[in-house]
């Protein structure tokens, strides 16, 4: 499993706009590069990222070969209720990695 780092404020006031930051370890190989033997290095990228807040999708991103290695994605959402934010990264082969973070809304 790839390493991922997530930053979600542990607590927020209801209605607050909160910043969420995610970083995941991935080569994001473009498929346009040539290796030392002269053979092309096959494309290998994460192409989909979704964040759900208590099951409801709040953010989605499509990723393409121009995204650098170890994609960093940061976005904002509104703190509505206590619960769980789930983050899932899916690569071009369909493998998905999910990680969660808890938030307390007062």
């Amino acid at each position: 499993m790839a390493r991922a780092l997530i930053h979600v404020p542990p607590s927020a006031k209801r209605g607050d706009v909160i910043e969420i930051k995610t970083l995941i370890s991935h080569v994001m190989e473009t498929g346009y590069r040539i290796g030392v033997t002269g053979a092309p290095i096959p494309r290998d990228i994460i192409d989909d990222f979704v964040c759900t807040y208590n099951g409801e999708e709040v953010f989605r991103a499509k990723l393409y070969p121009a995204i650098a290695a170890n994609p960093f994605i940061s976005f904002f959402t509104v703190a509505t209720e206590s619960g769980t934010l789930a983050f899932s990264w899916t690569d071009q082969h369909g493998a998905t990695q999910v990680q969660t973070a808890a938030i307390t809304v007062v």
């Binding site: 390493r3 991922a4 780092l5 997530i6 930053h7 930051k21 995610t22 970083l23 995941i24 370890s25 994001m28 650098a68 290695a69 170890n70 960093f72 940061s74």
Partner: protein, 285 residues
Amino acid sequence: MKKVNGCGGRLLMRVPSPRRAEGTQRERLAALVLVSMILLRATAAWAAEIPLDQRRPDSDFVSADSRAMQNDDTGNPAMLVLLDGEALWNTKAGAANKSCADCHGDAEKSMKGVAARYPAYASALGRPVDLEQQINLSRTTDQKAPPFAFESKELLALTVYIARQSRGMPVAVKDDAKAKPFIAAGRALFEQRQGQLNLSCAQCHDDNWGKTLAGNLIPQAMPTGYPIYRLEWQAVGSLQRRLRNCMSGMRAETYEFGAPELVDLEYYLMWRARGMAMEAPAVRP
């Protein structure tokens, strides 16, 4: 001292136009070559170390964005490598079946300030080793495990993990009688012209820091942030990788990873940055 770089450029610009007589052209060229040779000699004589109070960390020479990325533990991609290093620290290895933690305990305590003291003289070898080499020494002698290859994922991960424990601490490499000859050798290499471009490290980093080379500001070469996450590499790399990079940029033959010359140079550079705050793992363009 910063006026003389680019003699070559001026020489080219002042070549007379082809309409003039060839004899005059030759004479002028000869005179200009002479003048530039004198100037180049003068440059060598003017090359001087940066005064201690004018030293600035390399992070002063990167964009505010890169600096923010470096100082944000969720944004700095080297932190992903650090997690690998932490896992390795606690993994048993080798015939001794011991982990780093079995002897050194909690790295956050035992490794505090360690990276700021490397390279350091290793009596077993009779010469200095850098942090990567020290990790491999511990692996082979204490864990009885095969050493990691230079620039391998594992060696970089452990180095990042250990270096991180010194963040904010002052560089404190030893400069006692044992270390001095190696620091001096590193300094000689720093000041020696090399490669097809016939440049020395000092010509950029002592004489022309703060100016631009291609699009990038030339830093003072204070290696307080290594291993770094370099955006160009899209990966973490060691100081030796960076030094080899600069050397191939000067069209010089690069030393092999682990070469004594590279360690001497690392030692001199860390000594040059003595007292400055460690910022590993740094983010660089």
